[in-house]
Structures are given as structure tokens and as C-alpha cells.
């Protein structure tokens, strides 16, 4: 058995301490601790179902080491839905637009969409498609997912809600960029 090491990080706003072996991924750490909303579709960084929000950007938790997140802040779709207005808007739009079929990609997809809109994402269907290109969906053909994100983007620009413009836009598709391994663009 691999040696267990202690790490502390914030999950959904709560400070948590875990025991985990050095090689454990953030995905496994979260799922082992019953954050079931973080889904495992491939565990190789290809499908995006495990996408979480780490220090203000979407990352693929399966290719992020848990211990590299010590001292950092992780949010899952479940936590964001209660704490973050934008995520709540996205959830509502996904429900109303029929963007959810089997729902397995949804938790990661909503986090990817939040990243896009938090980083100056506009109501531009092509740009939305680029932003979620690292999150696979087999059910919907993406049409209604793009619809939902587009609708929220329109709503945001109409209301002129402040965007989180302090963070640099960076493509998070590979999972590593934006994670503590890839150099974090947080303050």
C-alpha cells in the first residue's frame, strides 16, 4: 500500500483535510470522499466529465494530482450551484433548453461553461463550441448545450453583469493548463 500523506484544500468553500497517496488524482480524491457529482468517463483527460473549478478555472480533475491542489480551492458543480449565481443560471438554462439527456457529461459541461462565461465569454456560438470542445457529450449533438450557454451569455450581456475579468482567459481543454501543475493565473 502506498504511503498516505495529509493534504488540506478547500472543497466547495469548506476547508477539508484528507489522507491520500502521492499519486492520487484529484478526481479519485473527490470521488473517494463521496463527491459523486464529479464523474469519471475515461480517466485520461479526454472526455471532460470530471471537470471541476480550481482556483477560478475549469480543469480536468483526472489529470490533476490531488496533492498539487493542497492549499488551493476546488468547486464542483454541486457546490457552485448553491454558491454561484452564474452556475445557477446555467443549470436553469440547461434544464429549460433540454440540454440534459443522460446527464453524465452535465456536471463537467456546466463547469466548462461557467469558465467560458467567467472569462469574458460572449454570446458567440462558435466560441462557445470551442470552449466546450474538451467536454464530450454523446447524447445531445451539443445543439441544446450550445443553446443554453448562448442564452445565458445573452442574458449576461443584456444585464451587463460584471464578469470575472481579473482572470486571464486560457484554454483549459488539456486539463493541465490552469491547474497548479500548469501555472495558475490566480492572484
Amino acid at each position: 500500500m502506498a504511503e498516505l500523506l495529509t493534504l488540506t484544500l478547500k472543497v466547495n468553500g469548506e476547508e477539508k483535510t484528507f489522507q491520500a497517496p502521492a499519486h492520487l488524482s484529484l478526481l479519485r480524491l473527490l470521488r473517494d470522499n463521496l463527491y459523486w457529482e464529479v464523474k469519471c468517463g475515461c480517466e485520461e483527460g479526454d472526455c471532460g466529465t470530471c471537470t471541476v473549478y480550481l482556483d477560478g478555472r475549469a480543469v480536468k480533475s483526472c489529470v490533476t494530482l490531488a496533492h498539487a491542489c493542497a492549499g488551493h480551492e476546488v468547486w464542483t458543480v454541486k457546490g457552485l450551484g448553491y454558491a454561484d449565481d452564474l452556475t445557477a443560471k446555467l443549470q436553469k438554462a440547461f434544464v429549460e433548453c433540454g440540454s440534459i439527456q443522460c446527464g453524465f457529461c452535465t456536471p463537467g459541461m456546466i463547469v466548462a461553461a461557467k469558465h467560458y462565461l467567467d472569462h469574458d465569454g460572449r454570446a458567440d456560438r462558435k466560441a462557445i463550441r470551442e470552449a466546450i470542445a474538451g467536454n464530450l457529450c454523446r447524447c445531445t449533438g451539443y445543439q441544446k448545450i450550445v443553446d443554453a450557454i448562448y442564452n445565458v451569455a445573452c442574458e449576461l450581456s443584456n444585464n451587463d453583469l460584471p464578469h470575472n475579468s481579473k482572470l486571464k482567459t486560457q484554454n483549459s481543454r488539456l486539463g493541465l493548463s490552469g491547474s497548479p501543475l500548469g501555472g495558475v493565473a490566480h492572484e
Binding site: Q91, I100, C102, R129, C137
Partner: protein, 762 residues
């Protein structure tokens, strides 16, 4: 029927919020105290003789609770069942083997099962199992497999031929001479993976009474009978309290982890969890049948098809599974949705040492759809005729018979669909090139695919409704929900009938011990079958309520309207009672507002397979799709610019779900053109999502869906099923559009940029 409140609208599904919030749990999202992890040891070779399996070292590893091989399985060999109520016979049910013995028929065939304290220990134990293989040559092409003297795939069956089927009409030989033009081509289709984002997995444990209890997402709840048989238990000793799937598409129609889990939990008397990795899933579960198709079509110079002959060889892979059933679909749909007086389709399926083939969205209709729609464009090109005109001239119309001579009861909307498609596609003239220099092409295709299972399976469904004393409704049905909204639409139908909002109806689904068996979530059957069963059940309790309300409101039951949680006298809405009040009155009378409604599909007997006639499937859904794309002649890259997807869905019961099926189906079919498993002598070279590339949001174009509502379906409110019909047409339309753009023809489904370059450079 004119004032629908729920039916026909974009009603959010009952489970959408749970999924949006991350509350929905799937097969992998449970743990239990004292739980073990299960793993499968799979063959390293596609063709071999299994000489010996030595598990002693694995069993000795600390933390290993059980290692099982074929000899530990109470009934290791039986016939494959797919939830049907009867054994069909006639070669339709093939050999089902739980763990390998004798000949190894494919790479990743299961050899042994392990249960251990941790996943790591289980994986370590797999490495310690010593397998003695005698590697053999194998056969990987069904055409080779059918030749005399070919390598014999199985040690149990005598030959590689699985089944031979034929459908014919008219007299082909007599008309070839009358034809002005005969077009003859060979086509082939690739294997295709379902690539649902949730891999196969689940849990099993023994309950306090020793009942084998599973929590495994499956399209076929009725597999509990097979699991019981394998373990030599009574059917009532196995329960699957199933759970929504993260996608199915036919890939969770065969048994996946269920028998393995049941065996391991019985052997260890502890809960066991098993989840397949993506690699394991891509290598081990069924694929869409690769088919080799030959088409010969005779036409007059003005485009009337006089004769069409198709012959098909299907790659069944290592085991029979659903091959004979899929073959029925390929055979009877072989000549397409066209009125052809003289036609014939002959199909043969064969074992090979490839991963087994079985159900995949479209179920055999998709392969022939590719071939007959490519053939139509080749004919149109040779006649210098517009592809719409050629199709309009030949499509089936109401009153026409299908290849088997059966005249469908449902509406055939092909003419309307083609016109609607043309209107959308030709709204703007096609540019020759885009400003960036890429050539533009447009292509179309139409399709025919059934909803409901083969009539000789004697399919039925049951749904139970119970109105609670506060006026809410509990709906119970053994309906597996794979993400198509199979359960939610039942709540919508029930709510519509009783005048309740959807949130007042709670669907409790898919538990073999608790829900009425509603049949499989396959064959595009749930809306048709369970939707009708739901209507039967709901209208039964509605009748009781209406009779009571009529007494209370001094009118006749038929003069009442159920709406907005009230029951009205239709002609004077002032005279009304709250729904819950009437429920209370019925309850006071000592009557329970409960009913289990059943719906039966039309039943027929197994046809003569050498001359298939009659009603093979309940009815057909028709589609028409158009694609516009741009090709870069320098690189061979092509990009889909837009898709128009038109279907006659009869009635769009949930508009969002219906559109969602069409959109998802279109991109699923697009994937067939780009996804490559890279089979190499039975080995799946592309066994990850890094190499097996399914469409991303950037690959998928914007989709415009046209829902035609003829009301001419056999489902509730005249609905037809759309789930599988949606997965037609796009692949041939893309290839037809490539031809339109750059003037080159392809006769296979998988098209890579380098293939285009090669053709362009001649």
C-alpha cells in the same frame, strides 16, 4: 385532444434538475461497507485454445477474496436472451458463455474474475493468473470466414455461418433487360462503438434473505432471469434495483457486469463493485456489425427504379448475441424506403475473431441505409438527375407495401419530408466555394427505421398508476432510462390525462422486484409500448374519477375536463371540483385509485427466413437529412457547415426530447464517418478517447430540426418513435455531399482526410 397542456411542449424532464445540480447518481456512485472490488481477466489473443488457467498464485495474494474461472460458474453455457418473454428458437438465440473455455474467440473474451479488498490488489491478482494459450490463426473478415476450409471460430458450433435470410418480391431476372441503366456497387461499413460517457459498472450484494441484489444500469432489466439461470437460482432470487444510465445506444442491451458481480458476491458473500475502464469498455463490449454489401439496381432513363438486388455479409464477431435479430433489420430494410416492384435482399452473417457485434442504435437498418442512399446518389449522378427528384419519384407512399409485402398502418411521410428538407436546404443558393477557398458540397439521404420490437418476440409493457390521497400520482414502471427521457415522458402523459402538472407525477422506475415489467429500453420502443401502457393505466383511474366527479357535478363523465388540478364540467367551467376532492370521495367509497395497464404489440410468428413475409415490425419512422460541408482540397480536411434533420415523429410528445433525439442521432451518425476503432486482426488499436475520436462540439455543426407531426403513429397521441431513426442518413449524406463538392465517390463509411487527398490526386 386539441388542448394539450403538457404533450407537445418543451416540458423539462422530471429528472433534469437532479442532473443539472449533480445530484443524479449512476452505477459507479455507490459504495457499501465491507465492499470488494471486482475485475475481469480477459484474453490476450483473439484466437487461441485455452489450455490451462492457474489461479493459485492469485488466490494466495493477501487481500484477494475470490478468483473464479469457467468451472466455478454453475451454468457457464446457455442461450442468449434479451428480455423477450418467449424463446424464439430457429437459431435466433445463440450460445451465451459466461467465462471462456475451449477456444478463445476474441481478444478481451473474459477468462477469470477476481474480487479483492482494493482495486489495486484486484489488478495485481489479474497479473498473477497464469494462462496457457495455444495461439491459433483466427479469421477476421466474415467473407473469408464463410469460405470452405476457413478457420472455425468456435469449438461448439460446426460452421462460421450464423444465419442466412432472404426477402424477395416480384421477379428480378425478368426485368433486368427492361432497365435502361444498371448500377452495381460494393459498399462496406465500419464497426462503430457506442462510446457512452459512462462505462459499464455497478454493484451486487446479498440481502438479508440471500437475494442476489444488483444495482446496475442496463437497457434490459429482464436479464435478471439469465443471471438467475447462470447461478442456478430461481428468477425471484435475483433483483436488479437498477439506476439511470449515462448513455446506452444499444451497448448496454447485452449483459455487461451483472453476471460477474452476481458470481463474485455469491462466492464471497460480500458486496462487490465492478466498473470497467474506458479501454476495457472499448475493447470488450459489442460493436455495430461491419457489413459488406453488394447492390445492383436497374432504372429507367427517367429514374424509375425497376429492380434492386442487395446481398449482405455481416460480421457477427465472436458470439451470436443479437446478430440474427440485427440481420432481420438489415434484410427487410435492405432495399430502402422505395417502391420497387422487383427486389431481393439476401444476408448472411458469420462468426469471426473480432469483438462480438450486437445492438447499436439503428440495429442493422443503419448499415443498409448507408448503402442504399449512396446507391441512390450514384444512380442520380449517372442519370444526371437531381437527387431529390430521383427519390421523390420512387419513395414509398401510404398504401405501398414494404419488402415483406406488409402494408404499414402508420403514415408514410417521405414525400412531405423531402419537400420540407429541400425547402430548408435550398433556401440559400449553394456557393461553389467559401471565401477561404474551400469547396462546398450538399448531400441528402432519407431513411426508414422501425419502432417497437420484432413482432415474433410477442412484446408487451406494463405501467402502474396510483393516485395518492393528496392528489399526487406515483407511477411505477420497469422502464430503464438511458437518457432519452424514457421515464419522464410517461409522467408527462399521465399528467396530461389527469390534468396535473408534471411535478405532481413521480415516476419510480426500473426495479425488478418492485416495478411492473415494462420491457427493454431498446428498439425505439418505450414511448410506443410503455407510453401506450401508461395511457391504459391512467385512463382506467381517470374513468373512476370521472364517474365520481360526474355524480358530484350532476353531469355525464364524458362531459368533464381534467385540467389544472381540477375537474370541470366542460360547458360551464364554473362547475368544478378540485382533483384532490374527487380523489377523497373515491377513497371514501373504499376504492383504490390504482391500475396496472398493459399494452401488447402486434404478435406474429417467426417467418420463413428463406422468404420473409408479413408484419415483421409494428411500424416504421421515416426521416430525411441534409448536410452542407466544406472541403479543403489541399489537406483533405472537411467541415460540416450545417445539418437539416427532418422526421415524421407522428406527435412530438416532448418537443425538447424529440428534437434532442434528432440532434443527438445526427451527430452519432456523423461520428460513424470519423470514428475508427482501427481493428487489426481482432485487436482494437484505438481503445481510448484520445484515439477513438467521437465528435466534439467543434466537429458538430448547427442542426436545424424539422418535426413533422402527421399523427400517423401507433404510439400515444399518434406518436412514432425517433431514437434510432435519428441515427440514419447523415453518414451517406456526408459522403454524397463530398461527391457534390469534389466529385469523388466513396463506398465505405470511414472517411479520413488522407482518403480524400488520395482520391483527389487520383
Amino acid at each position: 385532444m386539441s388542448n394539450f397542456k403538457l404533450v407537445g411542449n418543451k416540458v423539462p424532464r422530471h429528472d433534469a434538475w437532479a442532473k443539472a445540480k449533480g445530484e443524479q447518481l449512476y452505477s459507479d456512485d455507490y459504495v457499501m461497507p465491507n465492499m470488494l472490488y471486482g475485475k475481469v481477466l480477459r484474453s490476450k489473443y483473439a484466437a487461441a485454445i485455452l489450455r490451462k488457467v492457474d489461479t493459485s498464485k492469485a488466490k494466495a495474494l493477501p487481500g484477494v477474496a475470490a478468483v473464479l474461472t469457467a468451472e466455478d460458474v454453475p451454468l457457464n453455457e446457455d442461450i442468449t436472451k434479451f428480455g423477450q418473454m418467449r424463446d424464439v428458437g430457429g437459431g435466433f438465440e445463440g450460445l451465451y458463455k459466461v467465462l471462456a473455455h475451449g477456444k478463445i474467440r476474441s481478444k478481451s473474451e473474459p477468462i477469470a474474475l477476481v474480487a479483492a479488498e482494493t482495486e489495486e490488489i484486484a489488478l495485481e491478482a489479474l497479473k498473477l493468473i497464469e494462462v496457457d494459450y495455444e495461439v491459433t490463426e483466427g479469421v477476421f473478415d466474415p467473407r473469408e470466414a464463410l469460405k470452405e476450409g476457413a478457420y472455425v471460430v468456435s469449438s461448439e458450433d460446426q460452421a462460421n455461418l450464423i444465419m442466412e435470410t432472404k426477402v424477395e418480391k416480384g421477379n428480378l431476372e425478368a426485368v433486368w433487360e427492361e432497365c435502361d441503366l444498371i448500377v452495381e456497387n460494393d459498399y462496406c461499413t465500419s464497426p462503430h462503438d457506442h462510446a457512452y460517457l459512462e462505462t459499464e459498472g455497478g454493484m451486487a450484494w446479498l440481502d438479508e434473505n440471500g437475494i442476489i441484489t444488483l444495482r446496475v444500469g442496463t437497457q434490459v432489466l429482464e436479464h435478471y432471469r439469465t443471471i438467475a439461470k447462470v447461478l442456478k437460482r430461481h428468477h425471484n432470487q435475483v433483483r436488479n434495483m437498477s439506476i439511470p444510465m449515462g448513455g446506452g445506444f444499444g451497448g448496454k442491451e447485452d449483459i455487461t457486469v451483472e453476471t460477474y458481480l452476481a458470481l463474485l458476491t455469491v462466492a464471497t458473500r460480500r458486496p462487490v463493485k465492478m466498473v470497467w475502464s474506458r479501454e476495457e469498455s472499448l475493447e470488450a463490449h459489442a460493436k455495430r456489425h461491419p457489413e459488406y454489401l453488394h447492390y445492383k439496381t436497374g432504372v429507367t432513363k427517367d429514374g424509375k427504379i425497376l429492380a434492386q438486388q442487395a446481398s449482405i455479409v455481416m460480421d457477427g464477431g465472436a458470439y451470436t448475441y443479437l446478430t440474427p435479430w440485427v440481420q432481420m433489420y438489415s434484410t427487410i430494410n435492405g432495399t430502402g424506403p422505395y417502391r420497387i416492384e422487383n427486389q431481393e435482399c439476401v444476408s448472411r452473417s458469420a462468426f469471426t475473431n473480432n469483438t462480438f457485434s450486437s445492438a447499436n442504435r439503428g440495429f442493422g437498418a443503419t448499415q443498409v441505409n448507408f448503402a442504399y442512399e449512396r446507391q441512390m446518389d450514384e444512380i442520380a449522378a449517372k442519370l444526371n438527375m437531381n437527387p431529390y427528384e430521383l427519390r421523390l419519384k420512387n419513395v414509398l407512399k401510404n398504401g405501398d407495401s414494404l419488402s415483406t409485402g406488409f402494408i404499414p398502418e402508420g403514415h408514410i411521410a417521405l414525400t412531405e419530408l423531402l419537400q420540407a428538407l429541400r425547402e430548408k436546404m435550398e433556401k440559400t443558393p449553394k456557393p461553389e466555394r467559401l471565401p477561404d477557398g474551400r469547396k462546398v458540397g450538399r448531400g441528402i439521404a432519407i431513411g426508414q427505421m422501425s419502432y417497437g420490437r420484432l413482432c415474433f418476440l410477442h412484446d408487451s409493457s406494463r405501467v402502474a398508476i396510483r393516485v395518492e390521497l393528496d392528489g399526487s400520482v406515483t407511477l411505477r414502471a420497469g422502464v430503464p432510462d438511458l437518457g432519452g427521457g424514457q421515464a419522464s415522458v410517461l409522467a408527462q402523459i399521465c399528467g396530461e390525462e389527469l390534468g396535473l402538472p408534471i411535478e405532481d407525477v413521480h415516476p419510480f422506475i426500473m426495479d425488478t422486484h418492485l416495478t411492473p415489467l415494462a420491457g427493454t429500453t431498446t428498439a425505439t420502443r418505450q414511448l410506443y409500448m410503455s407510453g401506450n401502457a401508461c395511457l391504459v393505466a391512467t385512463r382506467y383511474v381517470k374513468d373512476i374519477l370521472a364517474k365520481k366527479a360526474a355524480t358530484l357535478l350532476s353531469c355525464q363523465p364524458h362531459e368533464l375536463t381534467f385540467y389544472d388540478r381540477k375537474i370541470f364540467y366542460t360547458n360551464d367551467p364554473q362547475r368544478s371540483l378540485p382533483f384532490v376532492t374527487v380523489v377523497g370521495h373515491v377513497s371514501n367509497d373504499g376504492e383504490l385509485l390504482f391500475h396496472e395497464g398493459q399494452f401488447n404489440a402486434p404478435f406474429s410468428e417467426v417467418p420463413d427466413l428463406t422468404n420473409i413475409k408479413g408484419r415483421i415490425l409494428p411500424d416504421m419512422t421515416y426521416t430525411a437529412h441534409g448536410v452542407e460541408l466544406a472541403v479543403d482540397e489541399e489537406t483533405g480536411q472537411y467541415e460540416l457547415l450545417r445539418i437539416v434533420a427532418a422526421v415524421d415523429c407522428g406527435k412530438a410528445v416532448n418537443r425538447n426530447s424529440c428534437e434532442g433525439q434528432m440532434e443527438g442521432g445526427a451527430i452519432y451518425n456523423q461520428g460513424w464517418v470519423m470514428e475508427d476503432l482501427a481493428w487489426d486482426k481482432g485487436i482494437t488499436r484505438n481503445n481510448s478517447f484520445a484515439t477513438y475520436l467521437i465528435p466534439t462540439a467543434l466537429d458538430a455543426p448547427e442542426i436545424e430540426t424539422v418535426l413533422l407531426e402527421s399523427g400517423g403513429g401507433l404510439g400515444p397521441y399518434g406518436a412514432k418513435g425517433v431514437g434510432e431513426p435519428a441515427d440514419n442518413d447523415i453518414c451517406p449524406a456526408i459522403i454524397n455531399a463530398l461527391r457534390d463538392a469534389i466529385g469523388v465517390s466513396f463506398f465505405n463509411t470511414l472517411i479520413k482526410p488522407q482518403d480524400i487527398l488520395k482520391k483527389l490526386k487520383g
